[in-house]
Structure formats: structure tokens, C-alpha cells
Symmetry: C2
């Protein structure tokens, strides 16, 4: 192939450029034209490989999902049994994205909310729904006369919030199918302990 005119593998190069842009300056800065420029190609060249910007975005997401899968599989394979595989996968699920928060924001679009889990100090939370949850949870502990360690409390509160948030995220995804009303059961389950 000639050096200038035909790029060789522009499609993959555009995906890589896109990932680089997202890593360096967030999704807001991702544009077809910038990705094209990084590949030293005209601004309309991407249209030979992607129908529109969204198709590039989807391709990038597919690539990230692939990497994600590799890490999860490795975690599962490295575990002696399924139980530890589950725990390990959970850990890597979190770790993969925590290492690159921009990926998570890109894939799932997380918000910038400041919330303080700790109980030992009074913090100002800027997300009232979390405050309410925290307060209610504390009331629950008092009512039930449960005496938990700082650590236990943080774990449980985070579990409650994470489950609510995670379930909501999943429920808002178009294709989730369940056969019964799982919500109630899950939230009460979380408290029986």
C-alpha cells in the first residue's frame, strides 16, 4: 500500500486515537475530526469506515469491553474454585475501571458526586439522596439496637447504595429481562444479616 493515500488500517487507528483522546481529555473532547487528524487523514476519511460518529463510539466501547473481558476471564481462570472466582471477578470488575475512571465514564457515564461513606466524622455530602440513605440506615441500627463496627457499617451502607444504584442502572438498560419482581426481595435481603 502507498504510504499517504491508503492508510492501511485506518479503522483500528481511529479506534486507538479515540481511546487516546478519551484517556487524555475525556469523552467530551472526542471528535471525528480530531481522531482523523491524529491519523493524519482528512476529516471525512472516517466515513469510509464508520457510518457516523456513533459507530466509532460503539466500536470503541466494543474494544473496551474486550479488554474488560480479558481481565475478568483472567481473574476467573486464576481462581481455584468458582466461589473465589466470583469474588475475584468482583474485585477486578471494580479495579479495571478504577484504574481508568474515564473508561467507566465513557462506558456508563458516571457522574461526579461527592459522597462520604465514613461515619466517624461529619462530612458535607453534596448528594442529598445519599445523606438520606445514611441517616435512615443509622436510624435502622438504633431501632434494631445493632452495634456494628465502623467497618461493618461502611460496608453495609455502601452495599445498600451500590445495590440500589446498580440495580437501577441495570433496570434502565433496555434489554434486561427478569421473570419476577426482584426489587423488593433484593432490598430486604440486603438487610437480613
Amino acid at each position: 500500500m502507498s504510504d499517504n493515500y491508503h492508510h492501511g488500517n485506518l479503522r483500528q487507528a481511529l479506534i486507538d486515537a479515540g481511546i487516546k483522546i478519551i484517556n487524555e481529555s475525556g469523552e467530551a473532547n472526542l471528535s471525528l475530526r480530531k481522531a482523523a487528524a491524529m491519523c493524519k487523514v482528512s476529516h471525512a476519511a472516517p466515513y469510509a469506515h464508520f457510518k457516523d460518529k456513533n459507530e466509532l463510539v460503539e466500536a470503541i466501547k466494543a474494544t473496551v469491553t474486550e479488554k474488560f473481558m480479558e481481565e475478568l476471564s483472567a481473574a476467573a481462570d486464576a481462581s481455584p474454585d468458582a466461589e473465589s472466582a466470583l469474588v475475584n471477578m468482583g474485585r477486578h470488575y471494580v479495579a479495571f475501571f478504577v484504574r481508568r475512571p474515564d473508561y467507566f465514564k465513557f462506558m456508563f457515564g458516571s457522574q461526579n458526586i461527592t459522597a462520604h461513606i465514613r461515619f466517624d466524622k461529619q462530612y458535607e455530602n453534596d448528594y442529598p439522596p445519599f445523606d438520606l440513605l445514611k441517616e435512615t440506615y443509622l436510624k435502622y441500627l438504633v431501632e434494631k439496637r445493632l452495634d456494628k463496627s465502623e467497618e461493618e457499617k461502611e460496608t453495609e451502607l455502601l452495599k445498600l447504595w451500590a445495590s440500589a444504584h446498580g440495580i437501577t442502572a441495570i433496570a434502565c438498560m433496555s434489554g434486561v429481562e427478569t421473570s419476577f419482581d426482584w426489587e423488593d426481595k433484593i432490598f430486604s435481603d440486603l438487610l437480613i444479616r
Copy 2:
């Protein structure tokens, strides 16, 4: 106030217009100029009330959070004790956004992933990480010789995924503070039952 020139409460009107746009055609379609047009005001008028587009977006988010809080508070207030308040809040947490998935997408940007929780039929999932989790969970059941109902399995699988996803989302938010390594504990906790 004069009718044309000074709007009266343009700031709130822009927020309302923004919410309407998001409800009707998603966040991608939200633009300062459209919101301004809906308020019958020139395209630069919003700059008297918002520094830039992001400030309008943040104001809209604050409004949504307010409504969200109202629903959660109502749920808590209507509950006889804190335990049921927690369960109720969880239910309304989900319900609020499920009623308007666009709000959740706007607030937290959820993806369109198709995943099938059900075990009684073989579905094609388009999100491999979920498949892996499902498989591993099934292995776990076999290894431990656990015999659970379809309903129990679905609940538990969803709980696992939701927790992982929710914890990740929360961990990727900038300001979350914890005092210890909660991840491990949470994932193993979820299995002890």
C-alpha cells in the same frame, strides 16, 4: 415586566425547556440554542443566567435530584420504621428512574446493554462480561451443591452484578471516601448466605 424583552424567569424556563428536551429526545438533543428558542429568546440570552452549557446541565441535574429527593423522603416518611424505610427507599430509588429512563441516562449515563437474567431459557446476551458472571455463578452453585429456585438464582445473580456495577460506579465518582478496602468484603459477603 415587559412581555417580550424581559422574560420574567428565564433561568427556570430554560431549565424546564431542557428537561422537556431530554424527556422527548434524549440528552444528545439538548442544546442551549434549542432551549433558548423554546423560551422564545435569542440564542445568547441564556448567557445572562448560565456561564456555559455545562452550568445549565448542572442546574437541570440539581432539579432532577430535588425531585428524586422528594420521592425518597416521601417513601421514608411513609414507612413505620427505619427498616421498612430502607426497603421502601430502595424500591423508590429504582422506580423513580425506571419511570423515566432518560433521567437516569442523563444523570448517570447508563448504557444500552442487553442482558438476560433468566436461567430457564438460553438467551443470547450481547454483554460478554455478564455471560461470564452468569456462567461462573452457575459453576459456583454446582460446586457447592446448592439447589436454588429459579427465583432465588435470579435474585442472587442480579444482586451480584448490581453490586459490582454499583460499587464501581460509586468508586469512579470522584469524592467517595472510605476508610478501608471494602471491595473484597462486599463481594464475599454477598455469597455467604
